[in-house]
């Protein structure tokens, strides 16, 4: 093709360097902004209230729903950043972008706009999970092992990583003769429109009456699911980074 035979637009290595710096200044913020945008969007619509509210971070759905949705972008963009640029950064960078966007949004929207206390709507801590996945990818250089070990650890460690932040809200208290947690009480004080739906979801089945094994059981189950989840989304990342051209759309 004649385009590929075109001579260069630069006259020296200094000019080449100048252009590459310009490209970096455009591409890097673009990638970070897109990470923040897409991750916030899909996390809001797949996890949403499980991460918005302290009383929704329960032991049954939160440790299952969250890692499955949280793995998507790290897996997709791990393929792009590792295969194309040899950067083992995707998981940390995407989750960092999500976390920064979440803090801005919780403060502006949930606190300033809708008047919920920040203590009730702070974003959970996920950056450590991204670091683990990226470290495993760096050490193994393999998506198979990253999915197997990183995907599993990602889900299993979600609850323990947040436990220091969550623990004060899980302290039991007695209110009018009924035992409940601090976070439950906050939830009852700030009734939201989705609470009836949440109660319908969370009160199903016998799991709620089980003892202390519920959280580890959920975490391990989520870990096994997340292995396949990671592999699947890595494959989507492979498809997404294909530079395909077509003659016409229809």
């Amino acid at each position: 093709m004649s385009q590929e035979l075109t001579v260069s637009a630069v006259r020296s290595t200094a000019e080449q360097h100048r252009v590459h710096v310009q490209v970096d200044l455009l591409a890097i913020p673009l990638v970070v902004l897109l990470f923040a945008a897409v991750f916030s969007f899909q996390f809001a619509l797949l996890v949403g209230d499980w991460d918005y509210w302290i009383d929704w971070r329960d032991r049954r759905w939160w440790p299952l729903v969250t890692p499955l949705a949280l793995t998507i972008l790290p897996a997709v963009f791990s393929y792009f950043l590792w295969e194309r640029l040899r950067l083992p950064l995707a998981a940390t960078l995407t989750i960092l972008a999500l976390t920064a966007a979440a803090w801005v949004s919780r403060y502006l929207n949930f606190h300033l706009f809708a008047n919920f206390p920040m203590n009730m709507v702070w974003p959970s801590a996920y950056i450590g999970l991204g670091l683990i996945v990226d470290c495993i990818l760096l050490l193994t250089g393999s998506f198979f092992w990253t999915g197997l070990l990183g995907g599993f650890a990602f889900a299993v460690l979600l609850y323990p990583m947040n436990w220091p932040l969550l623990a004060p809200f899980q302290v039991p208290l007695e209110l009018h003769g009924t035992m409940l947690t601090v976070s439950d009480l906050m939830g009852f004080e700030y009734v939201r429109t989705a609470i009836p739906e949440y109660v319908r979801i969370i009160e199903q089945s016998t799991l709620r009456t089980f003892g202390e094994a519920v959280t580890p059981l959920t975490a391990v189950f989520a870990g096994f699911l997340n292995i396949m989840n990671f592999w699947f989304w890595t494959w989507i990342g492979y498809l997404g980074s294909k530079a395909l051209w077509i003659r016409k759309i229809v």
């Binding site: 385009q3 590929e4 035979l5 075109t6 001579v7 260069s8 637009a9 630069v10 020296s12 000019e15 080449q16 100048r18 252009v19 590459h20 490209v23 455009l26 591409a27 673009l30 902004l33 897109l34 923040a36 945008a37 897409v38 916030s40 969007f41 899909q42 809001a44 797949l46 996890v47 949403g48 209230d49 729903v65 997709v76 963009f77 792009f80 194309r84 966007a101 801005v104 502006l108 929207n109 300033l112 706009f113 809708a114 008047n115 939201r192 429109t193 989705a194 739906e197 949440y198 989507i236 990342g237 997404g240 980074s241 294909k242 530079a243 395909l244 051209w245 077509i246 016409k248 759309i249």
Partner: protein, 272 residues
């Protein structure tokens, strides 16, 4: 629009820089508009936006809806129309430095799209999540929906559509063929609007509560995932930028000219 084959030193120098002045000017304008909208929403959503049947709702919110829709349609027609009318009809004659300049313009447009996408899909989207958790709505046109779906999303669509049409009308590789990742990047945001129709229909009939992770919202997620194709688009852009910024010796240039001539002769022979 025509292009000169020989680029002056000034033009050559400009070609090596992204259009930062224009970019930051547009960014400041967009930030001012989105911030002003947000302040208006903050001041009037809970005071005049709770009851659709209140006359004040029509004054403070429906008027905003009608105005913004009209402005967006006119702006869209103007931008796309301008890009089409002023399209480059001599794309096979542009210089490498001009082509490089256009790639940098395209990337700055995509960066603008990224900034708008962040504001819309994070801040504006979650203002809707917060709103619907504290109000039971009586209309599809809530203050946050008017901000998100009828202001934010159309602007978001317009920003990526601008970049797409710019590439189709001014950059040879994108004019000759359709970039599938770019087409997906445009199609995802565009398809949010039909999905919004389904969403509102569902909320009207069978799902009034605003559990944000509800299945009725998952269509939006699927469309948001169209952005995963951005990786493929970046590969396409960067591949060409690397070709355009290779440092070549005069011997290489001579060799390239010989190849070009040979390719042209081959084309002529094939045509004969």
């Amino acid at each position: 629009m025509t292009t000169s084959v020989e680029a002056s030193d000034d033009a050559h120098d400009r070609a090596l820089r992204a259009p930062w002045k224009a970019f930051f000017g547009m960014l400041a304008f967009a930030a001012a508009v989105f911030a002003a909208y947000r302040i208006y929403q903050h001041e009037t959503a809970f005071t005049f936006g709770l009851d659709y049947f209140n006359p004040e709702f029509a004054t403070y919110w429906m008027s905003v809806l009608y105005s913004e829709l009209a402005i967006e349609v006119l702006l869209g027609i103007a931008i796309v129309g301008y890009l089409w009318i002023t399209r480059d009809r001599n794309l096979d004659k542009i210089t490498p430095s001009e082509e490089l300049r256009r790639y940098l313009v395209l990337m700055s447009q995509l960066l603008m799209f990224g900034a708008i996408a962040y504001v819309v899909t994070s801040i504006y989207t979650e203002s809707d999540a917060a709103w619907h958790q504290v109000t039971v709505r009586d209309t599809d046109f809530t203050p946050t929906h008017i901000g998100l779906f009828y202001f934010g999303v159309p602007v978001f669509i317009l920003s990526v559509l601008t970049a797409f049409v710019y590439a189709r009308t001014r950059i040879p590789a994108f004019a000759k063929r359709v970039s599938l990742p770019f087409a997906l990047l445009v199609a995802g945001p565009v398809m949010i609007m039909p999905n919004l129709g389904f969403n509102e229909w569902g909320h009207t009939f069978f799902y009034a509560e605003e559990l944000f992770a509800a299945p009725i919202h998952w269509g939006f997620v699927l469309l948001g995932w169209a952005t995963f194709a951005a990786g493929g688009l970046l590969v396409q852009i960067l591949t060409r930028v690397v070709q355009l910024t290779q440092v070549v010796s005069s011997a290489d240039v001579q060799q390239t000219n010989i190849k070009s001539e040979a390719a042209a002769n081959a084309e002529l022979n094939a045509a004969a």
